[in-house]
Symmetry: C2
Subunit: 285 residues, 2 copies
C-alpha cells in the first residue's frame, strides 16, 4: 500500500494479523502447541496478558478441551470478555504477566493440564513463525520486517523463518517494556520494567530463552518507541486505513511514523500489525 | 470465513470494501467517472452523504484537480473531516442528500465544474461494478451476493457485472430508506422516506434511473432490515472480526444475522461490507 495516507514517503507491506480470529496472531502458536501434544483430560492452562489467553480459549473450544486462563488483574475488559466468550475459565491474578504465569504453572501441576506458554515453547514460536512463511509468499520483495516484541514469540518465529536470508528483522519495543533491546545489550534475557500503554500485550518481564537463541543472531536491531508515538500510530491506522490496532498492535508501525527507525534507501518494508483487542473508542482522533 | 463467530451456521465470503482507501467502495466510481472525462479547469463538483464526497475529494487530489463537495448538514464529522482532509471545499447544505444535490448542480452550472454523481451516472456504476469483477475472480463459488442499497450505484454495478450468470443479487435496505424495494414494487424509481441509523450512507430519496434499468431484471430480491438489526450486525463484526462498519456498511450482513433473509440450502453467500466511516466508539458492545 501507499504510505502517503499514513504520512510516510514510502510504500509499505502490512501484515494484518489484527484481523485474525481472536484479534491477534496468537492462535497460530496456540493451535500448533495443542495439535503437537497429547491433550490431557484436564485440558490446557495458560497465563496471558489477554491475547494469548483468548487464542488458547479459542483453540481449546475448536479442539473440544477445557481451558483455564490466568490474566493479570489490569487486563483490559476487551480481552477478558473474549476469553470467557470462548468458554474458558478465567482467573485474574497479580499485577503483571509474571505473577499470572506462576499461578498458571501451579494450577497445571495440580490438575495435570497441558501448559500452553505465551511465548517460550518451541511449538508456539513455530506457530507464530507462519507469519513469516506467509509474508515471504505474499511479499517476496520485502527487505525489512518490523515486528513488535514483548516476550518475543512472534519475532522469534519470524526471525527463525527468515534465518539465512538477506531479510532484516527489526524489533520494535515500547520504552516502557524494552525486553529484547535490553537482552541484546546484556547478552542474555534479563528482567525489565513493565509499563506504558502497550504493557497489556508487550508487558512480559523478559524475552524467552528460546526466542533469544534465535534473536541474538537473526534480529538485526531493536528500536524503542514512546507511548505518544504508539498512540499516534494507532490514530493514523484508524484515520487512513480504518484499522483498529491496540497499542501493541501499532507499536511496529510507530517506529516508522515517529522516525525512530529510518529505512535505508531502496528498502521494501513490511510491518506486522499484530493485535486489535482494545476499546475502539480509544483509537480515534 | 466461518460464520460461527458471527452467530451463523454457514460459511461466508466477505468483500471488505470498508478497508478501501477513504473507508468505502466509492473511489471506484469516482475515479472511473473522472478518468473517463476531460476535466475542466473548475474541477469537479458533487453532492454526497459523505462517503462519495470523500472519494471524489481523494480522487481529485490524486488527479490534481479542484473539488467542491456538498453534504447535508447532518453528515457525520467522521465523513466531513475526511472530505476536508483530502483538500476539497466542503459545503453543508440542507437536511438530506437531495437538497445537497440541487446545490451542487447549481454550483456546477455556475463554475463549469464536472458533476460526479453519487450514483446515477454510467461511469460511476461501471466503477462500482468492479466489486463484482473482483468478487467473481476471488470467489467464483458464490451463488448469492448481498449488497446494501441507497441510491443503488453499488448494487447496480454489481448486478450489471453478474447479469447473464446464475448468481443472484440480493438488495438489503433499512426499513427507514426502502429505495429499491419500493421501486421494484412500483415498477419505477419513486421518492421514499429517508430515515434511520444508516441514512447518512443509504439515504438517497430514490434509486437512480440507470441502476433501476439494471435492477428490475437483475436484482433477485429486496429485503428490509430494522435499525436494531443493523446495530447488532455492527457489534458482531467488531466482536468477531475486529472490523468497524458504519451502519450502511453492516446493512447487508444484517439481513443474514437477523434472519430477514434465509439462504437456500447449498447457497454460497457473499456479503459486501461497504463502508467504515463512523465513530468507532459506536460499534462496540
Amino acid at each position: 500500500m501507499s504510505g502517503r495516507d499514513l504520512g510516510l514517503g514510502l510504500d509499505l507491506i502490512l501484515k494484518l494479523e489484527l484481523l485474525q480470529a481472536t484479534g491477534s496472531f496468537k492462535p497460530r502458536g496456540a493451535f500448533n502447541r495443542m495439535l503437537s501434544a497429547a491433550l490431557p483430560a484436564a485440558g490446557v492452562a495458560t497465563a496471558s496478558g489477554g491475547n494469548h489467553g483468548a487464542a488458547v480459549a479459542y483453540a481449546a473450544r475448536a479442539l473440544g478441551v477445557r481451558a483455564e486462563v490466568f490474566c493479570p488483574v489490569p487486563t483490559p475488559v476487551a480481552k477478558t470478555t473474549r476469553i470467557e466468550g470462548y468458554g474458558a475459565v478465567l482467573h485474574r491474578v497479580g499485577a503483571a504477566y509474571d505473577e499470572a504465569r506462576l499461578a498458571s504453572e501451579a494450577r497445571a501441576a495440580e490438575t495435570g493440564a497441558l501448559i500452553v506458554h505465551a511465548y517460550d515453547q518451541a511449538e508456539v514460536l513455530a506457530g507464530q513463525g507462519t507469519v513469516g512463511l506467509e509474508l515471504e509468499q505474499d511479499a517476496p520483495e520485502a527487505t525489512h520486517v518490523l515486528v513488535a516484541t514483548g516476550g518475543g514469540g512472534l519475532i522469534g518465529g519470524i526471525a527463525a523463518w527468515y534465518a539465512g536470508t538477506p531479510v532484516r528483522i527489526i524489533s520494535v519495543e515500547p520504552e516502557g517494556c524494552p525486553t529484547l533491546a535490553t537482552a541484546l545489550r546484556e547478552g542474555r534475557p534479563v528482567p525489565c520494567p513493565v509499563g506504558g500503554v502497550a504493557a497489556d500485550s508487550l508487558g512480559a518481564r523478559q524475552v524467552g530463552g528460546i526466542m533469544f537463541a534465535v534473536a541474538k543472531d537473526h534480529v538485526a536491531q531493536a528500536v524503542l518507541v514512546t507511548d505518544d508515538a504508539i498512540r499516534d500510530a494507532q490514530r493514523r491506522l484508524w484515520d487512513a486505513l480504518r484499522l483498529v490496532a491496540e497499542p501493541g498492535g501499532a507499536t511496529a508501525l510507530a517506529a516508522l511514523t515517529s522516525g525512530a527507525w529510518a529505512p535505508p534507501a531502496g528498502a521494501r518494508v513490511a510491518v506486522v500489525l499484530c493485535g486489535s483487542n482494545t476499546d475502539p473508542a480509544k483509537v480515534a482522533g
